[in-house]
Symmetry: C2
Subunit: 388 residues, 2 copies
């Protein structure tokens, strides 16, 4: 069966918005539907990634958005896997089309994190940790990732200065992304002089609290050919899912097994090697994630991941030539939790169709997106996307 | 492709439990896995229906339960569509097997509603209403259903006495269901003398706040044949989904279009007529739902649905011989929100395999399950199940 393709994409700007979740979705949908004839008439199913009901006291986001979009008789549901919800929604869309059950599926994600302020977001995100084993200790997302960062630095010799360069790189990329939350460059001093959130992670090592909505329309290649030119589509070639391990206790803190498995699954399904990936959006919720994931998905040798902030030509042997987080990543493009996986796919789509503007990676043909929920290894979904 | 079958089932008792959600799940899973060789080794995917993170401050229920069940490398996710979450999980399982993507899928549902008390449950359920249009008015689930009941009685001439008989019937059925929350019969006076919650609905017209977990193992017929005898399986023949209409405003209050569409879709996929259904679990969250749904899914002529409480032989012409809510329904078996759709499937499984004990409907060959989220028409999933 031919691979499903991305037919069109749309997204709101990421940031602290005055819009509600549904209005952010409207912005995303208007862009995704803009050049499609009768879009509401062709969508067969809707999946909505959304992390927490607490931000807007709203569940049933699938039904809500279906009605809002005029998709009144289309099966719609919310999927939830914390920050991996967006990629879970995308995975459903890809699989529904690949199995022949649907011709066109809308995958979207919405999060209105700022509704509860930083404290509300911290509280809502802590619900992703195992209540019996870890929530009760009062541990937060930054403090769990700090454990990973501390261990990573201890084992590899990576320094806070090197982690800071990941933030510098991603802000530099975001400065060229009109949808990014932070469109200004920063220097390493800014990171290093920012206050500790959870040692060794400082404020500028952390992704922000963000509002945003993103929409990706997936279609069968056959149907897509009747609607848009083939150079406007991107093939969704491979999907992989990682392991389930909610609690950080008893894990190998410096090897993200879920991402390793998810990426391997996606590569196998797509029939590609890690070394063939040109651009990748990895789940850099904290600076340490990018090196950890670069190693886990096969871009970097173990212990050399922190070189992700260097130009491809400056990295150690064994590193691939991949460009990481060209969108600015979660760190600087922003991280509206349930929508992040779709923002990743949109960046891949724009890179592979030559629409990435000032941040375009020349000749980009293959992309990997890695979206994670929970701390590093709890649930991971990877997609391989290819230029058509 | 052959239809998927239910391979085994398990559920905790429904009620006010001292167990946590994960421990309720353990009870359900132990029963579902009891007679399967190497069950954790054969499950290819897990879907968890769960309504609200607020009861236990826990998201990521898919990952949590996968890890808890020893399904560490199995793709797992939570699906959410308020009270339809259980049937959404089941639908994923059926479709994953039918499409050939999986051989064996575990669909389960968990809810720990009593953790927040009645007020907490009312608050959590109100998140299912449209925040911009209806939540802000302070309207609750009982008060929305009261609008439907008031209108139904006005249009059809049905009385509070007749609605009370639905509760009496369902308590009578639950008295023969060892998993039911209320295993005692009641009389009409008990219903009629109970306090109004939202006129015309009284306390005994309303489903209770319930804890519970249910698990259904779906497998391809081919794999099932290697594991259990064919008389122990039930064919999942048809699935249908209804319309999306979150707000009650501007709806036809006495015609549940979503259920009509969902049931029609399930009948078509199964190749059966409404008149061929022997037993049905419908979404009787309030007594008025059972007559409304009996009409919507084609069991009863319009305006005659309230005769659901009569014996099949006593009903008007045009009524089918179906037995409704043999489990006791949401009303008396109990309504652990995200698990309810799976409790419905379990009742169908037990009826169709002759395991329903004192509540067995002789000769039952076909069952319909209708599971709804939101008020009556927001999201509906219907399944047709058949004896093999």
């Amino acid at each position: 069966m031919p691979d499903p393709v991305i037919l069109s994409v749309g997204a709101s700007p990421v940031g602290d918005s005055e819009l509600t979740g549904r209005d952010l979705f409207s912005v995303a949908l208007a862009e995704a539907f803009e050049n499609l004839p009768d879009p509401a008439g062709i969508v067969d199913a809707l999946y909505v990634g959304n992390q927490s009901e607490s931000y807007e006291h709203q569940i049933m986001y699938g039904t809500l958005l279906a009605e809002w979009a005029g998709l009144r008789h289309v099966p719609a549901e919310r999927v939830e896997g914390c920050a991996a919800a967006g990629a879970l929604a995308l995975r459903h869309a890809v699989r529904d089309v690949r199995s022949g059950q649907c011709d066109v599926v809308l995958a979207c994600g919405v999060e209105k994190m700022t509704a509860g302020g930083t404290a509300g977001a911290t509280e809502a995100l802590s619900a992703a940790f195992d209540r019996a084993l870890e929530q009760r200790s009062g541990i937060t997302a930054p403090s769990q990732y700090a454990l990973l960062a501390e261990r990573y630095c201890h084992e590899t010799g990576a320094t806070e200065e090197e982690l800071a360069r990941v933030a510098v790189k991603n802000h530099s990329n975001a400065a060229r992304n009109p949808r990014a939350q932070y469109q200004s460059e920063i220097d390493a001093e800014t990171v290093l002089e920012s206050p500790y959130v959870a040692r060794p992670l400082k404020l500028f090592d952390c992704a922000p609290v963000s509002d945003g909505a993103a929409a990706v329309v997936i279609a069968s290649e056959e149907v897509a050919a009747t609607l848009v030119d083939s150079e406007e589509t991107v093939r969704a070639s491979g999907v992989g899912a990682g392991s389930n391990n909610l609690a950080v206790a008893e894990r190998d803190l410096t090897f993200v097994e879920g991402a390793h498995r998810a990426a391997r699954g996606a590569y196998e399904e797509a029939g590609v090697e890690a070394s063939e990936i040109d651009v990748a959006e990895v789940h850099d919720a904290f600076t340490v994630c990018e090196p950890l994931l670069a190693e886990a998905v096969g871009f970097a040798p173990r212990r050399a991941g922190v070189e992700c902030a260097l130009e491809p030509g400056e990295r150690s042997d064994g590193w691939s030539d991949v460009e990481l987080s060209t969108s600015g990543g979660l760190k600087a493009r922003g991280h509206p939790i349930g929508a992040t996986g779709l923002y990743q796919a949109i960046e891949a789509y724009e890179q592979l169709t030559g629409r990435a503007g000032d941040r375009q990676v020349e000749g980009a043909k293959r992309a990997l997106c890695v979206n994670e929920g929970g701390v590093a290894d709890a649930v991971t979904v990877a997609h391989v996307l290819e230029a058509t």
